[in-house]
Point group: C2
């Protein structure tokens, strides 16, 4: 019904208040040297006209590119990423910055497009969970002076800050925990093998496995299954491992989706294998699942803080920030071989 009347400008406000444009600007922006009475007049005029400062014009004039920080993640619907986003947002809030998000669905091509779009939209900084298929566009964003902070997955071939987890230690901890419970055949189900997080977690697994006295000729990777990015795929991998002639008595699942997939595979089994998962998740306590836990919200906050500091002239590209992980025992990781933990 309402005609989309073009919004009031500062000129209109100034006119209505009977003051100059500049004075109106000062009043609206809360600058000093404006008489209280004048301030009131301008405020009233602004209210009457439904005036809203056009921040685009304001930022343009001041040579500021924008008030947005871009976050590029895999999939917003994954709780890990959305917690990350929450952490980032919380940090930005205090600075009057806003968060622009988008999901790559782990496609390098989409990552490229999204980063380009964000750069075109003048984001102040980029926080990226990179697919690591290519980083040309990220590099060129950097070259344009846009701070790029890698999160969860470190920067590769690129001097940039990153905030990551202590993946290798976490995985080793998990496997050693299973070994301590008596397990010797421990399966590993992992994400895309190109991802650094995956590789590090696998390294941690191998560290612990290779420390075990082995029958000669044994392949430490015999029970390793990789490149499963969703729960359904991980479920299949778990079923396959469990149907081996000598199946593993325990599994290590390298992220939340994989853990969930494995759990769905256990339904109907007389004895569920012991399990330690990387990433905590809702209901892990109800289910009694032992996990390598960490704080994705904190990870997002840290990344955001680094991005903001870089904006304030901090030198980019220092050592990666490595956040600690810890094992939370809930039962599934403490069950001895052949013992059901449910």
């Amino acid at each position: 019904m309402t005609i989309p009347k073009s919004p009031a400008t500062l000129v209109d406000v100034a006119e209505r208040a009977g003051v100059s444009l500049k004075t109106a600007s000062r009043a609206v922006n809360g600058e000093p040297h404006v008489a209280e009475a004048t301030r009131q007049k301008v405020a009233k005029a602004a209210l009457d006209l439904g005036f809203q400062l056009n921040s685009m014009a304001s930022l343009l004039k001041r040579g500021i590119r924008s008030n947005f920080i871009g976050l590029v993640t895999g999939d917003l619907a994954n709780p890990f990423y959305s917690s990350l986003a929450k952490g980032v947002e919380r940090e930005l809030r205090s600075q009057g910055l806003q968060l622009v998000v988008s999901s790559t669905d782990e496609s390098g091509e989409r990552e490229r497009v999204l980063v380009e779009e964000m750069v075109a939209r003048q984001v102040r900084a980029l926080i990226v969970v990179s697919t690591h298929e290519s980083n040309d566009t990220l590099r060129s964003a950097q070259e344009r002076g846009i701070p790029v902070v890698f999160v969860d997955r470190p920067a590769l071939d690129l001097t940039a800050d990153s905030v990551v987890l202590d993946n290798r230690a976490g995985a080793r901890l998990a496997i050693e925990h299973l070994i301590a419970a008596g397990h010797r055949r421990i399966g590993f189900i992992g994400d895309f093998s190109r991802l650094p997080t995956h590789q590090q977690r696998l390294d941690g697994y191998l560290d612990a496995i290779e420390a075990l006295p082995t029958k000669s000729g044994q392949d430490p990777r015999e029970l390793v299954r990789e490149d499963f990015h969703d729960a359904a795929g991980a479920r299949g991998a778990a079923l396959e491992l469990l149907s081996l002639s000598t199946p593993p008595t325990a599994l290590f699942t390298s992220n939340n989706r994989v853990t969930i997939g494995a759990l769905t595979a256990f339904r109907g089994l007389p004895v569920a294998p012991a399990l330690v998962g990387f990433d905590d998740f809702d209901l892990s306590d109800v289910l009694g699942v032992t996990v390598v836990s960490h704080d994705p919200v904190e990870m997002g906050s840290r990344a955001a803080r680094i991005a903001l500091e870089t904006l304030e002239s901090r030198q980019p590209g220092g050592e990666p920030v490595v956040l600690p992980v810890r094992l939370i025992e809930r039962g599934s990781g403490e069950a001895a071989p052949g013992v059901d933990w449910r």
Copy 2:
């Protein structure tokens, strides 16, 4: 190391390419009437200088407000909201629009601030899961010509589009299902009582309960517990209900967090009460929890589509879009009174 050289402007590009500003503009924007050779020259110059069109200036000049759509939700870390965000983002993607998100943490005051900020940042449209504490700022956004679409919770006292679930029918369905399994004392654990979703789900509950032959003097709200917004609170409510002298034999939990809270309360009980939850969640199948399910991603998409249509001159404020819900039987809702379903 790199000095944050001030980015190249179109003037620089034009100069370097030896053409006029306007010609460079035409070339960069792919407008017609530019000779192929000229286009090449400009492209090369732009590349050399690392030129990036300043979209703020461009949009300002063209009188376009921005390419952003704002989404204001309760808490990004809640899978329900992040799925919603995913749906919105997916829809925007094809239009070259980007998504700005922020969380209110269910505070009306924060909602106010966020909406104002987004309006100041010139978002093209707003998609809101309103706290419903007040809608003044949303109304004024509307008056400025910014389409506002309510999602999950309908518009109140405001002519605006909304996309909601069939909450009442869903809740009634759930309760009738429990009644069919033999339950007569069914507890209700709900969210903030001010939320329309809550009220509708409670109405659905009461519909079904009141259809039951009652002992006179019986209060249909005897087993209703409200205003629990997180899992911890819901857990307490569940424990309290179960410790009544005549405890309910079944529970209806009105959203995903409440359901999870109730589930954590069941640990250690010899017999878990039957349970139907509103909202599906990860691992509901592993746990065997019967739920009233729906598609939050689709809900986000629909809301985004409506926002985009309104931008394209569709009349705002039609009938609310009501999305269907369906019951998924997984065991917890089919157990007879006194029978453990786990």
